[in-house]
Amino acid sequence: MAAAPLKLLIVDDSNIIRRRIARSPAVDRLAVVGAAANGVEAIELCRATNPDLVTMDLTMPEMDGVACVEKLVAMKPDILILVVSALSDKATAVEAIRRGANGFLCKPFTDRQLDEALAELLAGH
């Protein structure tokens, strides 16, 4: 029997980006279990859907992505988090990784870049 696809939660305050990631060929092999518009929603959805993998924006209202990464990792230490953000300075990427993220993809991105970032994340774990 084939293994169940890994469950993906998409977190971004932009509906366009959430939909863009959800319909990307890069996530064809994953099961999208939810989409959240901020960190607070993401935590609720994480509890409800138990995702294996999260794409996480950083600049969001209510609770930003860096704070959310830390909370998700505390809730579920084995969760894989790919930060997908326009914040392209090195210090932000380093801080996100320090808080528990596993990878960083800078916006704007192509389908191929998203595919490569997800593949790299999954290959490493």
Binding site: S14, N15, S85, A86, L87, P108
Partner: protein, 150 residues
């Protein structure tokens, strides 16, 4: 005051955005300083407040027709008003966020504040700081990136 090198950062950001997100490069016009009053804007504007080491705002402003085509280029079928507003904010956020590669992490950007305006209306930009306007031409449409930093 914004330096020529800093303007180059935003020009590069706008160029990069259209090349990647729309898969079709934009032509960037000559940036100019607004010497009197506030810059004119298009129907939709995404305003990013800047704090930290610099104070001010960065704004991407575009007409509805351009946003419609941009959404279609992104394979987005939902061209509702909500998605137009979402897109204008996302473009402003992405170009401003990318500028941190050069400005550093203490170039702090807010979440986008989206405005729809009629002809002749202006945005709540800082009145004590002069704005640079970077014209962006993409397909047959014109937009602007407004950089208003101390």
């Amino acid at each position: 005051m914004v330096t020529e090198a800093e303007i180059r950062t935003f020009v590069d950001g706008a160029t990069h955005y259209f090349a990647i997100a729309a898969n079709q490069p934009a032509a960037i016009g000559s940036p100019y300083l607004v010497t009197e009053g506030l810059p004119a804007v298009h129907e939709y504007s995404g305003l990013i407040g800047i704090s930290g080491r610099r104070q001010g705002a960065v704004c991407f402003t575009a007409p509805r027709a351009m946003l419609m085509v941009l959404l279609m280029r992104m394979n987005e079928t939902d061209t509702s008003e909500a998605n137009m507003r979402d897109l204008i904010g996302e473009v402003a956020n992405t170009i401003s966020g990318n500028a941190r590669r050069d400005f550093g992490a203490d170039f702090v950007i807010s979440v986008p504040d989206v405005h729809t305006t009629r002809k002749g209306e202006t945005l709540p930009l800082p009145v004590n700081i002069r704005s640079f306007v970077i014209p962006i031409n993409w397909r047959s449409h014109s937009a602007k990136l407004i950089v208003c930093l101390d």
